[in-house]
């Protein structure tokens, strides 16, 4: 009897999920068709569509850089490091306050933009790495043998801790990231007007993504990271210092986040103690989308999310007649997160990583 009831219940859930998914697919198609064939909402020029796409790619490459941190740590510890957004914020704010702003007031930012950018970026990366190593050592390593929920909750605690720590340090006001003239304005490429910041962000992201991929696939340390991800005991038998390799994994992810933070500052012109929260969750979404644990997955997931966030609102949301559609891009991101978690937890291109340890 109880058995029979249970079956019916599950069927209702399945039915509901199926309806949910179908409704969303229909809405997206409906909106797109309405927009493309019936011109609902604002009419955009081809150049505008290209601009949306490029904005999406630039934003998406930032998501990708941040997503790497989630994916690398998940790969070795099967843990979602919810404090990763704070690694991103801490380096960015510190480098902005102590390097970027002083350099700007000294005029050095204008006279030596590339060297300055390098110094700002390296500072951000170093601080992010430091915060990450501290968090790993103090908050996560002692919990290595605890049930999986424990480090997850600790990560949320660490996230709050760092947010309010840096709020205490730098205040709760927005700290503007200085404008660097050579990186502002637009540049014409193939007859397209492209914002220079976007170009810088895309180029820097691609270099770092490719560099990281080769580091993980080719270097000895990268091999150790992959070995630890598969089997910590056997990796130790091979002579790998597992604790140190896990710390390196955190450090690499945090370095990418720190660099992404400066690119974020360059693109949006501001930093804030809460700036890690939304990009952190978006990047987590990107990592899940691409299949958490997979490096190419994080890159593709980030780009995909960035583009759909930028193109989705003017396309299908406006097509559905929703007013102020561009303000709803977060809704798209989180709807995608929910959809992927329910229907394809291994991600779009991901392998079923979680199965082994879950």
């Amino acid at each position: 009897m109880a058995q029979a009831l249970r079956r019916i219940e599950i069927d209702f859930v399945d039915l509901f999920l199926w309806l949910f998914r179908t409704a969303i697919i229909i809405l997206v198609i409906w909106g797109t068709v309405a927009k493309v064939f019936f011109g609902v909402g604002t009419e955009y020029s081809t150049a505008a569509w290209i601009d949306f796409t490029i904005a999406g790619i630039a934003q998406g490459s930032l998501y990708a850089l941040i997503a790497l941190g989630y994916t690398l740590v998940y790969g070795v510890l099967f843990m979602i490091n919810f404090a990763h957004g704070e690694f991103f914020m801490s380096g960015t704010m510190t480098a902005t306050v102590f390097v970027a702003i002083p350099l700007a007031s000294a005029g050095y930012l204008d006279s030596n933009p590339f060297m300055s950018m390098l110094a700002i970026m390296l500072t951000a990366m170093l601080v992010s790495v430091g915060i990450a190593l501290l968090t790993e050592r103090v908050a996560y390593r002692p919990l290595r043998r605890a049930p999986r929920l424990v480090p997850l909750i600790t990560a949320i605690g660490a996230s709050f801790f760092w947010q309010y720590f840096f709020r205490g340090l730098y205040g709760s006001a927005v700290v503007p990231f200085p404008n660097i003239p050579i990186f502002s304005g637009t540049i014409e490429i193939f007859g397209l007007e492209i914002l220079r910041t976007r170009l810088v962000v895309m180029a820097a992201s691609i270099i770092m993504l490719v560099g990281l991929y080769f580091f993980v696939m080719r270097s000895k340390t990268g091999k150790a990271i992959r070995a630890v991800a598969e089997d910590k005991d056997v990796a130790a038998l091979m002579g790998v210092n597992v604790d140190r390799t896990i710390a390196i994994t955190f450090a690499v992810g945090a370095a990418m986040a720190g660099a992404a933070g400066i690119l974020y500052g360059l693109m949006f012109g501001q930093t804030h103690f809460f700036m890690g929260f939304v990009p952190g969750i978006k990047a987590f979404t990107a990592a899940v989308l691409g299949g958490i644990g997979s490096i190419p997955g994080a890159a593709l997931g980030g780009l995909f999310l960035g583009v759909i966030e930028a193109v989705g609102p003017p396309l299908f949301l406006e097509g559905l007649g929703i007013p102020g559609a561009h303000q709803l891009k977060d809704v798209i991101a989180f709807t995608m997160l929910v959809l992927v978690l329910i229907f394809r937890p291994q991600g779009i291109i991901g392998e079923r990583l979680a199965e082994k340890k879950a």
Partner: protein, 237 residues
């Protein structure tokens, strides 16, 4: 002095008392086998030796050094390598990358290359599949890979946990022939087996482990002739 001395080791999993005072020793150049039924504590013994577990009581010495002072990852440098239970290959790394991991603590590239060639001579199948992801290998090939990977560190002592597990009889013969060859080339071996029949054929000496205790120890011939061993482990009535 023995190469490996295990003295009165007690090991626990929480409250489960898995090893109740295990003592054994392995001399340089020997193949010593530790036989016992499923759950007797064979794997626990090897995990204690390799530092993956710490004995609560007792000590383990390798080349005269107490191993309690070393972490698991510091042992391979001192000359201890293990072929873990269930092979423990890195399924998503290639065959060559798995072998590289075996030489992880070394940085002399040219010697590593030589070592890999030696492993490929021992296991020609691995050479053919060097670029292949290890998870796609057959069970026998995975066992060869796990053994080759352990040899990459040029160990003085090789710990092997049930290398015959899950292999077809012909492959078991091959693996045991290779174990003999590895030993003839100068590597001391502690071989854990449920397959007492095969293990006692190649070993010099053996220990019988029952529910965490050593109940017998003798030369391999004497164990083969022992009535209790014949009945319990060799299936001879």
């Amino acid at each position: 002095m023995s190469l490996l001395e295990v003295s009165d080791v007690h090991a626990y999993y929480g409250n489960i008392h898995a090893l109740k005072g295990v003592s054994l020793n392995v001399n340089e150049g020997e193949i010593v086998t530790l036989i016992g039924a499923n759950g007797a504590g064979k794997t626990t013994t090897l995990r204690s030796i390799s530092g993956l577990m710490r004995p609560r009581v007792g000590w383990i010495k390798f080349s005269g050094d107490d191993l309690a002072q070393f972490k698991a990852h510091e042992l391979v440098r001192r000359g201890v390598a293990m072929v873990p239970e269930g092979r423990g290959i890195f399924a998503r790394l290639t065959v060559a990358e798995n072998l590289d991991m075996g030489a992880y603590h070394r940085s002399d590239r040219s010697n590593i290359k030589k070592e890999m060639d030696r492993v490929f001579e021992l296991f020609p199948r691995l050479r053919e599949r060097r670029g292949q992801v290890a998870g796609t290998l057959s069970g026998g090939e995975q066992q060869m890979l796990a053994t080759g990977r352990a040899l990459m560190s040029r160990p003085k002592l090789l710990l092997m946990d049930e290398p015959s597990m899950g292999l077809a009889p012909i492959l078991v013969e091959t693996i045991f022939d290779i174990i003999k060859e590895i030993n003839a080339n100068g590597t001391t071996i502690l071989l854990v087996e449920q397959n007492a029949h095969m293990a006692l054929q190649i070993a010099h000496r053996g220990y019988v482990l029952q529910t965490g205790e050593i109940v017998l120890s003798d030369s391999a011939e004497a164990l083969q002739a022992n009535a209790m061993v014949q009945k319990a482990y060799l299936g001879i009535e």
